[in-house]
Amino acid sequence: MDVCIQKAVADYGETVARAAFTYLKNVHDAEDIAQEVFLVLLQKEPRIENEAHLKAWLLRVAANKCKNYLKSGWNRSREPLPDNLEYLEEKESQVLSAVLSLEIKYRVPIYLYYYEGYSMKEIAGILYSRSATIGTRLARGREQLGRILREEWEHE
């Protein structure tokens, strides 16, 4: 198999799976999506300029695959099955559950901004959006997240 694919999987396999997990809330489904994404990389052979470009390309393909997956008949007819996150430390589980409870349009920009470290402009490029829209979504997501966590931690 192409050495480039092997390197891409080694470098970004988990990154793509994490992005898919942010959409689907489920490790098993996220790994399936990661497989599909690298298959697209092999089949389409896109013109990649550098490492950053490759990573952004993979994340964009992952986003599209996840959206299609969520739109598919099978998924529409069942409730998503979020993973049990009890194996994480308590605070980690609370924060991650809170992020995953946000709507996709809020939690995906939060993932790309706070975990992957992309700027609003870069996120706009990956998600086919506008920087100002991403800014608004980050602000809204942050506000909702703050509210959820405050409530949770006040109850403790």
Partner: protein, 335 residues
Amino acid sequence: MSKDIYQKAMNHIAFSEDLDQKILRYVKNTENKKARRRKKWMASAVAAAACLVCLLAGILFFTGKDGAEIVQPGGGQGENQLPVITFSFAAEGAGGGEDFGFLVIKKGDSLKQGNPTLNNVDEIKQLPVFKQEKGKICAAIEDGVALKDIKKQMEFSQEKKESETFYSFDGKSGETYWNYFEGKEASLAEELLNYEFKRIEGVDRTSEEGNDSSLLNYYRIPGEKVGDYPIITGKEAEEKLRQGKFFAFGGEETVAKTAEILSVEITYMKDEYQTYIQPVYKFVITDKSWEKGLKTVMKENGCRNPGEFTSVSEVYVPALPDQYLKITEPELHMN
């Protein structure tokens, strides 16, 4: 604090230990299966090649040399022939389920005001459609480039500024602004093209992390025109909106029939994933059912005067008549 915890949690998600190998195995197996199928198919294809050539020749004869489907309005031939235009819309969320609109504005305020077709859409009967030229029509402005230099480069001799103020749920505001060329032209259609394509976009926002003021994109008039297309009327576009035949970022379908239309204008879809740069109707809508949800969420976020605000959404209806349109999924690409 939560950021660090979130990062740790993401690092601790229990993916398969052999995830890399699992991915590679899948890619390899799927490719091998495909290769076998391809081999089998090739054998049959050779036998059918002669028929295929005849068929292709026929298709080319009826559709034009680049294979694009051609529509002949009124059954005419020759100069009236226009290719079918694909339209796609990418929303970054799955959307749906919100009990308020996508944008928060102050009551009485409106979104940006400079579009020459704002609430004046019926004067234009046809508009050009352009081919996408990636990186040329809309390009990101590099960090550190000054606005005055961009203006100079774009020969902004007659410019105007418009802005759109958006609010977070706590009532704090940010502003997106656009400088655009405003020359008085022979027709409204030409003025619209200037407004849409001779344009610089920037954003000013105050957030917890401080002030963010940056230039975002500049636009250029596209060079490759596909043709001048007739467009549907504002009334026809509104009918489509009421039938739910519109595109938006999600959640608006539940109010499409009852929503109050605050404004209508013609604009161009310029995003890079569009294969064609084409006109669309943009409706700014609101709905009474959104008031309660917005008030609740703004109150929860510490806004003292949520009654001052209202929520709106922008929804889009393609302006080309159905016979020229093919709705598709956005293609994968990178900027």
